[in-house]
């Protein structure tokens, strides 16, 4: 808040109490006016010197408002001054807010006042003028030395009311200032006006609630210090209250306009000056302030140009050869201006134009670079820098030229792409380099400069040799172009013949040759489009070469450290060869050429893997280019513990020992050198055998371990074992990095000490028995005839026909059915007869068969219709035993007339006796009393064949009246009883299996 006046500085406030007077009374004023008029008229007539002080009251006070600037503009006159009179006066101005008694500003304005002059004074309010009514009054006092003291203040003018609140219009409420544009860091007072009395006013600045001060019931205000830029669309201020009457405004906070930085001007063609600068912050605000403008002003010519761009501007150079320029760049926005100035001589601000580059005479090693810099005027000398980029290197050269430049680029590599570029600057008054201008070019190819590095692999098979030639691709620096093919020439040293080169197209790196046992010299050359490389020569000797013993190689952190004995004489060099991938069979043969004085090297390769065995062969190369094997070494880049254990076979098992044996496994699968084997044996009763030591396994179990130090030993005899015992064993290799995995133990049981003897006896016995059985089977017919011949059948006898034909034609054979038995013979077993059961080796032996007892059945003569006497056969298939009931002896039959009834009765009695005996036999049979009772069955008259089954139900018939019979199982009945079969049969009977 402050005051401005036109033409004079405002005075310091004075002591108001001394200068202020009470309100003018009408009468006093009247007299004062009269006095003033009188004095003025006198002065007009008299001299210029004023003899007494006259109060001159400011009149026609007018107050206008600039709301946007929050300014009050006061203008007034001092009518009392005489014509052409000038008088130094001081004016006191008071400003009140809301009401006249609330004076907020007192200011003094001192100036020389002329007759009829309109005086101006301005005051800027911190509060928007719309927010409150303001009152202004003014008074004056002569402050001129010509007027003697005392000097009095005039009366106050009347209060002038300034009320901008009318701008509220029809709106219920408003927030002021409206759309105010301020700079970042300013202090702003905001007010909120409503038509109704305000309650609970809340105001927010970009969402942040502010502390609000109530100026009057309808007006609230708050102050914001050091406002910050938030966004281009402005900072929103929003107020609300009870009753709901919301209003808002936007405070546009602009970034502070910065002074342009790095302002400079230069010319390339002496026609245009190109001026550039860094504009700094963007101060534009949406719908409020555009981007800051930039104006270029040249003081010597007085010309001005509004720049269209933010950071550059072109200035047309006049034709009048102006050398010196004084430029002022003015940046401007709505709030402020900033300017920078430069003064320069045009010839010191020359930046040459970008050169145009060409290349000519490009060969394999040279190229000529030419360039032209377009006019910079007056053939000025230019300093140029040339840069050559190629093969990862940068080479810089300098040249001084006028307009055209030329430079020979030499010592280039053949078939190589280069990039050469040039830029130039004024040599006399260097200002800036021009833009770089460059081109790529490629040198031409040249013949390969080195022979390819060749090696061979020879495999002999059936008198023929397969030679695989390998070569390494030439390095770019030696190939001198794209290798198109390799020429291989094979020369037979034993039989001179015509040499035929065999081209192998690139990028092949090997070829196979089938050679006989002669010696050959092989030439290999690499060829590109320009020429051929020197030949690489290798000789394949007819001599198969010597065999050398394999040694182990030392491994260091750098790789395999190989050394060999120096060869005396004609060694031109050494070659070390190895396979990079021996583990997958592809080999990937590698070799390294070494000089004749070298006897050691370190081989390393990214292909080397831990746990893979690498074999290195060291060859000496003779002057005749023959390679002969010197040494052979093997090793691991890193040894790993074995992954597998050998397959162990157990043999020679005896009651006290067994033998373990296993096979070697291929070296390719070994992950480290096997130093021996551990034989683990689980101890019996916690004691280890001699030679074994106790060891803890990885599963924390304890067992006995025997260490075999010799890796070539593949057998082990475990001794001092106990018969009929279980042993568990396990064999694993051990290496420098550990032993094989812990596998399952194999169990073995030692046999009984005598079991082998038993086997020696049993086997021959079984063999003999089988042999006998076979013999018996083969002679079964003979055996049958001897042991159990067939019972002769009278019907089939030839004797009958013989008798019939010769003696009696009526002679016939008596049928059994016609036979009326007159006696039944019962074989009574004597006391000594017994069946012996003796354990599993039972034998049924019939010790003695005593004289049989016979039961005679006397036939009834009358009823007898049979042809003759009955013939009784004793069938040995059945043993008939009499009942021991007492009636089963030789039963005397009363001589009653025999009848059928009687016969049947007798038979029934007999059967009863048999049944009774049989029932007894189901119980316990006392040994030595009776055995089983059988009744012999005679040949049935109903069937011609004794083996055929009866088809009719059993009918009581003569001579076939046996109701019951018990069959002994075949085994018992069969004459050739084996011991075993008898056992099983008796067992069956003993179990109560009975067959009716």
């Amino acid at each position: 808040m402050g005051a401005r006046s036109s033409g004079a500085e405002s005075m310091e406030p004075r002591a108001l109490l001394l200068t202020q007077k009470p309100e003018p009374m009408a009468l006093f004023a009247f007299f004062q006016t009269i006095l003033l008029l009188v004095s003025l008229s006198l002065r007009t007539c008299q001299s210029e010197v004023l003899s007494e002080p006259l109060p001159l009251t400011p009149e026609s006070l007018d107050v206008s408002i600039n709301s946007a600037q929050r300014c009050l503009h006061l203008q007034w006159r001092v009518h009392s001054l005489a014509y052409h009179q000038e008088l130094k006066m001081v004016f006191q101005i008071e400003i009140s807010r809301i009401n006249t008694s609330n004076v907020i500003w007192v200011d003094y304005y001192s100036t020389t006042v002329k007759w009829n002059q309109v005086l101006h004074w301005s005051w800027e309010s911190e509060l928007p003028l719309e927010c409150a009514t303001h009152f202004v009054r003014i008074r004056s006092r002569v402050d001129d030395a010509r007027v003697p003291e005392p000097r009095f203040w005039s009366n106050w003018s009347s209060w002038k009311e300034v009320n901008e609140q009318n701008s509220l219009g029809h709106k219920a409420s408003s927030v002021f200032p409206v759309d105010k544009l301020v700079e970042e860091g300013s202090n702003v007072t905001i007010c909120y006006i409503s038509r109704s009395h305000q309650n609970n006013v809340s105001c927010y600045l970009d969402g942040v609630r502010m502390h609000v001060e109530q100026l009057d019931p309808n007006v609230s205000a708050f102050h914001v210090n050091n406002v910050a830029f938030v966004r281009e669309t402005g900072t929103n201020i929003f107020c609300e209250m009870d009753p709901k009457d919301d209003a808002g405004t936007v405070l546009f906070v602009s970034k502070v306009l910065e002074e342009p930085k790095d302002f400079s001007c230069e010319t390339q063609d002496f026609k245009t000056l190109h001026c550039t600068w860094d504009p700094g912050s963007d101060t534009s605000l949406v719908r409020k302030q555009p981007y800051q403008s930039y104006t270029l002003f040249e003081s010597f010519s007085g010309e001005k140009r509004l720049c269209e761009h933010k950071n550059w501007c072109d200035w047309q150079i006049a034709q009048d050869s102006q050398e010196m320029y004084n430029f002022t760049l003015v940046a401007e926005n709505y709030l402020r201006k900033r300017s920078v100035n430069i003064l320069f001589n045009l010839t010191h601000r020359v930046r040459p134009m970008t050169p145009k580059v060409f290349f000519k005479n490009i060969s394999a090693t040279n190229a000529t670079m030419t360039w032209r810099v377009h006019s910079t005027g007056n053939h000025r000398t230019l300093l140029c820098q040339i840069e050559l980029h190629g093969e990862g290197k940068v080479i810089q050269h300098n040249a001084s030229i006028k307009v055209n430049g030329e430079y020979l680029l030499s010592e280039l590599e053949p078939d190589t792409q280069y990039m050469a570029r040039v830029h130039c600057g004024d040599a006399n008054h260097f200002w800036k380099w021009s833009e770089w201008s460059g081109e790529n070019f490629t040198t031409l190819e040249a013949a390969p400069s080195e022979a390819p590095d060749v090696w061979r692999d020879v495999k002999s098979e059936l008198g023929n040799r397969t030679v695989t030639l390998f070569w390494k691709p030439l390095s770019k620096s030696h190939a001198n172009g794209k290798i198109r093919f390799y020429n291989v020439i094979v020369e037979n040293l034993d039989k001179p013949s015509e040499l035929e080169p065999v081209p192998i197209p690139a990028p092949a790196n090997h070829t196979k040759l089938a050679l006989d046992q002669c010696s050959y010299r092989i030439h290999v050359t690499a060829n590109n489009s320009v020429g051929t490389s020197p030949a690489s020569v290798i000789v394949i000797s007819g001599d198969p070469g010597n065999q050398v013993e394999e040694e182990r190689v030392n491994v260091t952190a750098d790789g395999f450290s190989l050394s060999w004995k120096p060869q005396s004489g004609d060694v031109t060099g050494y070659v070390v060869e190895w396979c990079d991938r021996p583990q997958d069979g592809s080999c990937d043969l590698q070799w390294e050429n070494l000089g004749p004085n070298t006897t050691s090297t370190v081989i390393s390769s990214d292909a080397f893997r831990p746990g893979v065995r690498y074999n290195f062969r060291i060859y000496g190369i003779s002057t005749k280019r023959i390679a002969y094997l010197l040494e052979q070494k093997t090793g691991y880049s890193q040894e790993l513990a074995p992954l597998v254990n050998p397959q162990v076979v157990m043999s020679n098992l005896t009651s006290h020992s067994f033998t373990l044996s296993w096979k070697d496994y291929p070296t390719e699968t070994q992950r480290s050198f096997i130093r021996g084997y551990h034989v683990y044996l689980k101890p019996k009763e916690g004691q280890c055998h001699p030679g074994f030591e106790k060891a803890a396994l990885s599963d924390n179990s304890v067992c006995c371990k025997y260490k075999i130090d010799k890796p070539e030993q593949k057998t082990f005899v475990v001794e001092n074992l106990q018969p009929e015992s279980i042993y568990e064993f396990f064999v694993t290799p051990f290496t420098s990095v550990g032993e094989g995995p812990l596998d399952a133990f194999t169990k073995v049981t030692t046999p009984d000490e005598h079991s082998h003897l038993l086997i020696r006896i049993i086997l021959p016995t079984v063999f003999c028995v089988v042999l006998i059985m076979i013999v018996c089977y083969l002679n079964s017919q003979w055996m049958k005839e001897k042991c159990y011949p067939d019972i002769p059948d009278p019907y089939k006898s030839s004797v009958l026909s013989l008798i019939k034909s010769k003696e009696n034609p009526h002679l016939t054979i008596m049928s059994v059915k016609d036979c009326i038995p007159d006696a039944i013979e019962v074989i009574n077993k004597p006391e000594g007869s017994k069946i012996q059961f003796s354990g599993t080796r039972n034998s049924l032996t019939e010790t003695e068969i005593t004289k049989p007892a016979y039961l005679y059945l006397l036939p009834a003569e009358k009823n007898y219709s049979g042809p003759g006497p009955c013939i009784c056969f004793e069938n040995f298939t059945y043993n008939q035993a009499a009942s021991n009931s007492g009636s089963c002896g030789h039963v005397p039959v009363p001589p009653t007339a025999p009848s059928q009834r009687g016969l049947l009765t007798s038979l029934e009695n007999l059967l009863k006796a048999l049944e009774k005996n049989y029932m007894n036999s189901q119980g316990e049979i006392p040994a030595g009393e009776t055995t089983l009772n059988y009744v012999s069955q005679l040949a049935s008259p109903m069937s011609g064949d004794k083996d055929s089954l009866p088809t009719d139900p059993p009918v009581p018939a003569l001579c076939s009246e046996y109701k019951m019979q018990m069959a002994i199982p075949l085994g018992l009945a069969s004459p050739p009883l084996s011991e075993n079969s008898s056992v099983s049969s008796v067992t069956l009977l003993d179990q109560g299996d009975h067959h009716h």
Binding site: V175, V178, D179, Y204, D206, G207, V230, R231, E232, T233, G234, T235, N236, I237, F238, D246, G248, T249, V250, F252, V286, R287, K288
Partner: protein, 215 residues
């Protein structure tokens, strides 16, 4: 009875509800318009969020509800429920068409004043989509045989800042434009859903009446 069944089956293709080979009517275009309103509703949600953040608080606060001071010229989407239910199809479509015609003009004005290129791109994309909706509504009206409302000459609505308007009021107008647009899209979704149901043909149910003679 078999003959009767065969006759019915023979005439099935002639039943309009089942005949899919004829003129599909305005149904599909109404469905498409409905889908478009839902898509635009989704699109506007993102655009409005970006634009209100660009205006700054309190315009991007969810509960900000300023008085509708300068937005009186915007077509109002809110309408009494009874009135809305009793709107004829023609009037309903006409109101939609007129509203989006005006809103599209306003939105293009908004686009011209946007300060950032990204915002201008988003607004331009949305204007294109809204133009598509307008065309879709015109298509439905044409399918139903309703004429398009003709704008009165010289009454082309514009959305240029009123010099008498403070910038805060201008922002409020922008706020109301987006809010009214959103309300219109909600309403249009309901309008076209109602039209869709109304235009939907009756259910394709065929009742075969079999008389059991002698059964």
């Amino acid at each position: 009875m078999l003959a009767c069944l065969c006759t019915v089956l023979w005439h099935l293709p002639a039943v309009p509800a089942l005949n899919r080979t004829g003129d599909p009517g305005p149904g599909p275009s109404i469905q498409k318009t409905y889908d478009l309103t839902r898509y635009l509703e989704h699109q506007l949600r993102s655009l409005a969020g970006t634009y209100l953040n660009y205006l700054g608080p309190p315009f991007n606060e969810p509960d900000f509800n300023p008085p509708r001071l300068g937005a009186e010229t915007l077509p109002r989407a809110t309408v009494n429920l009874d009135v809305w239910q009793n709107l004829s199809d023609k009037l309903r479509l006409t109101q939609n068409y007129e509203a989006y015609s005006h809103l599209l003009c306003y939105l293009r004005g908004l686009n011209r004043q946007a300060a950032t290129a990204e915002l201008r791109r988003s607004l331009a994309h949305f204007c294109t989509s809204l133009q598509g909706l307008l065309g879709s509504i015109a298509g439905v009206m044409a399918a139903l045989g309703y004429p398009l409302p003709q704008p009165l000459p010289g009454t082309e609505p514009t959305w240029s800042p009123d010099p008498a308007h403070s910038d805060f009021l201008q922002k409020m107008d922008d706020f109301w434009l987006l809010k009214e647009l959103q309300t219109w899209l909600w309403r249009s979704a309901k309008d076209f859903n109602r039209l869709k149901k109304k235009m939907q043909p009756p259910a394709a149910a065929v009742t075969l009446r079999l008389e059991a003679h002698g059964f």
